[in-house]
């Protein structure tokens, strides 16, 4: 579960403020601009800190609750900093038909974390994903923006080793 309190002291420095101000200026007048803005913030900072909600709400004439509602509705947005790499394992049916249930268990054991958690060394955050559109080559894993198909436990070991290096 998301802890609404823990991020308040994180990252509210001068640079972050400037960056978010610029992004807000770029997106606030676009029709339906909240999603593109949240994407821009997450692409830039790696997450959407709750400390920026008031600024967004003021610029887009929304309540803070509405901003919070949108951020938390979508699986893609995170309010906490992720590890250096994000590993997404596909849990959908096609990948299940090719052994993804065993693969996700193997990943959790190897990394010693559950979904939505980050390894102790801060290298990898593990997330589930529901279809990467690589269903002819299941099971699939996405490492950051790089997709991998026909992933075996050995392949997963290699991906983890590379991410930790």
């Amino acid at each position: 579960m998301l802890d609404l309190q823990t991020e308040q002291d994180v990252g509210v420095n001068q640079n972050l403020e400037v960056n978010v101000d610029t992004l807000i200026a770029q997106h606030q007048h676009r029709p339906g601009g909240l999603l593109p803005l949240l994407h821009a913030i997450q692409d830039s900072l790696g997450y959407v800190p709750e400390s920026v909600y008031p600024k967004i709400s003021k610029a887009l004439s929304l309540s803070v609750a509405e901003v919070h509602g949108v951020v938390t509705f979508y699986h893609h947005f995170r309010t906490h900093r992720a590890g250096r790499h994000v590993m997404q394992i596909c849990r959908a049916e096609s990948c299940q038909a090719m052994g993804s249930v065993a693969l996700e268990a193997y990943a959790k054991k190897s990394l010693d974390i559950d979904y939505h958690q980050t390894t102790a060394d801060g290298s990898i955050t593990l997330e589930p994903v529901y279809c990467l559109g690589n269903c002819a080559l299941s099971p699939s894993v996405m490492m950051d923006d790089e997709i991998h198909g026909r992933v075996s436990p050995t392949d997963l070991d290699a991906l983890i080793a590379e991410a930790k290096a």
């Binding site: 029709p31 339906g32 601009g33 909240l34 999603l35 593109p36 949240l38 994407h39 887009l60 509405e66 509602g69 949108v70 509705f73 979508y74 699986h75 893609h76 947005f77 959908a92 049916e93 096609s94 990948c95 299940q96 038909a97 090719m98 994903v129 529901y130 279809c131 990467l132 559109g133 690589n134 269903c135 002819a136 080559l137 299941s138 699939s140 996405m142 923006d145 790089e146 997709i147 991998h148 198909g149 026909r150």
Partner: protein, 522 residues
């Protein structure tokens, strides 16, 4: 002259190393002082052969695959640049049986052209449909689309022309064309292949829709899980805008159409059209009540055409070759072709575009070659996570919207996921509820609460199977009651169709639920 070598940029090809292969081919050619031009095409859709390289030789395009980085030096040694033989030779691409047996209309160019080359698109019949459309009135364009029999390929199979006609008939100062590219169904990837492999055909289809109904702004709502598709679309939109195929004066016609690709944020329910519109407006993706229909009050309250990628990408060929040409394919009320996606535990997975009417068995065995594991295919799920599971006894059902309805199944977006005999269908039923619980927008109770209760009841069923007969029977009854409530009481297809996988699993595979009774009708 440089020899052309095609190496796909398609996500699934990249997933098995196409990028590294492309780098290795470029480096090897440089070392050997050879003059080559690498073209990053879309995938031909024979995914078990990816990375599939093609060389433009004197005799035509010659294919090699599956190529790994380690094979690259030996390909050069064998003079593959002149189409010579190698252990990975597949022969002429056009002669590959798997492709020859298909009827590629929507996918006519995918894998053949350079996706972001407008010249290449034009050289392969691109924009002929739009040029024809610009000579017609809006009503005439809508009539061609209606007469072609094209139905929405997103899942609901609603006639595309009828939808357009409603928007055409609305008086409004602003109308929108929205492309639903939130392809979240497991086992489907045809939208992705179009966006990555032939983005101009989608842009052209949307432009024709805009000209037909009088819309000036379009949005493509693309899944965040598809970063390559989004990047390719953005490149293509930029190229099309510079060349006046988009913008304030489309091809000098005086008509305006601006197009923007928007990134979704990982919510399955946003594939539902009203939820998608909410999301485009920058809100939570809550499903809207209907009526009003999006065609009348859609994006920002304005008349909006919302169509799936494949529906829109099929419009150009309909306008190019005529309604009858398209309608001549297919069976019954399912006209034209369906891009079918073979996925899951299947030996030869990929994209098969065929006229409606082929049977599941032909697809699974003639095209698919059976399971990867070599075990019997026990069940297939057609139409994504909300589609029914079909047992072997139903594999002779032709792919046709009405024939599927008759067996209480859905064709949906044409994705077929195969499972071998190691599958536990009770676990698949549980997963269907779990997925619904994770993805529910929360607006209606049957979906929000029902899905959670469903997971609990399924856990009870698996815990009591072969143990407590009375407890077990109670739970089976409960899961049927719950399914009935969700089926009839949910606001949209997410809650309303979750019972399809659940009940089809229960009815066709009762032994997995600890039952030995005869299957009951759903």
């Amino acid at each position: 002259m440089a020899i052309k070598i095609y190496i796909p940029r398609d996500s699934s090809a990249l997933a098995v190393g196409a990028e590294k292969v492309a780098v290795a081919v470029a480096a090897e050619a440089k070392n050997r002082g050879l003059n080559i031009e690498i073209i990053r095409n879309g995938s031909r859709g024979l995914y078990w052969l990816e990375t599939m390289i093609e060389v433009e030789a004197d005799q035509g395009r010659v294919a090699y695959g599956p190529v790994k980085v380690k094979d690259v030096p030996s390909l050069f040694d064998a003079d593959f640049m002149n189409g010579k033989s190698h252990a990975l030779s597949l022969g002429l691409t056009e002669e590959l049986d798997w492709l020859k047996k298909q009827q590629r209309l929507t996918f006519a160019r995918v894998g053949i052209t350079d996706p972001i080359s407008l010249e290449d698109y034009l050289a392969h019949d691109g924009y002929k449909g739009l040029k024809n459309a610009l000579k017609l009135s809006g009503a005439e364009i809508v009539k061609v689309v209606t007469d072609s029999g094209l139905r929405g390929r997103g899942g609901a199979a609603f006639p595309t022309g009828i939808k357009w006609n409603t928007v055409l008939g609305c008086e409004a100062e602003q109308k929108y064309i929205v492309c639903n590219a939130d392809e979240g169904d497991s086992g489907t990837f045809s939208d992705r292949m179009i966006m990555e492999g032939d983005p101009f055909v989608l842009i052209e289809g949307m432009t024709i829709a805009a000209v037909a109904v009088g819309a000036t702004q379009g949005y493509i709502y693309v899944r965040s899980e598809y970063p390559h598709a989004l990047a390719t679309l953005n490149s293509a939109i930029e190229v099309a805008t510079k060349a006046a195929y988009l913008g304030d004066n489309v091809l000098g016609s005086g008509k305006t159409f601006h197009l923007e690709a928007r990134r979704a944020a990982g919510a399955y329910v946003c594939g539902e059209e009203t939820s998608l519109l909410e999301s485009l407006e920058g809100k939570r993706g809550l499903v809207r009540f209907k009526p009003p229909l999006p065609a009348i009050e859609g994006l920002f309250g304005k008349p909006t055409v919302v169509n799936n990628v494949i529906s829109l990408a099929t419009v150009p060929i309909v306008l190019d070759k005529g309604a009858q040409y398209y309608a001549d394919y297919g069976m019954g009320r399912s006209r034209g072709t369906l891009p079918i996606q073979l996925a899951g535990n299947i030996k030869h997975g990929g994209l098969v575009e065929l006229a409606f009417g082929a049977t599941l068995r032909e697809l699974l065995y003639d095209f698919g070659g059976g399971s990867v594991t070599g075990k019997p295919i026990r069940a297939v799920q057609v139409g994504g996570p909300l589609g029914a599971f079909l047992p072997e006894s139903q594999f002779d059902t032709p792919l046709d919207y009405e024939e599927f309805t008759k067996i209480w199944a859905v064709l949906g977006h044409g994705g077929i996921v195969a499972f071998d005999d190691s599958v536990d269908m009770a676990q698949m039923a549980r997963y269907a509820f779990e997925f619904c619980a994770i993805e529910s927008c929360g607006k209606c109770t049957p979906c929000r609460i029902g899905s959670i209760r469903g997971v609990e009841v399924m856990d009870k069923i698996t815990a009591t199977r072969n143990k407590s007969a009375s407890e077990h029977a109670k739970s089976i009854k409960l899961v049927r009651d719950l399914s009935d409530t969700m089926l009839n009481g949910s606001l949209c297809a997410l809650g309303g169709m979750t019972p399809y996988p659940v009940l089809s699993a229960l009815n066709h595979f009762p032994e997995d639920f600890g039952l030995s009774v005869e299957p009951k009708a759903g």
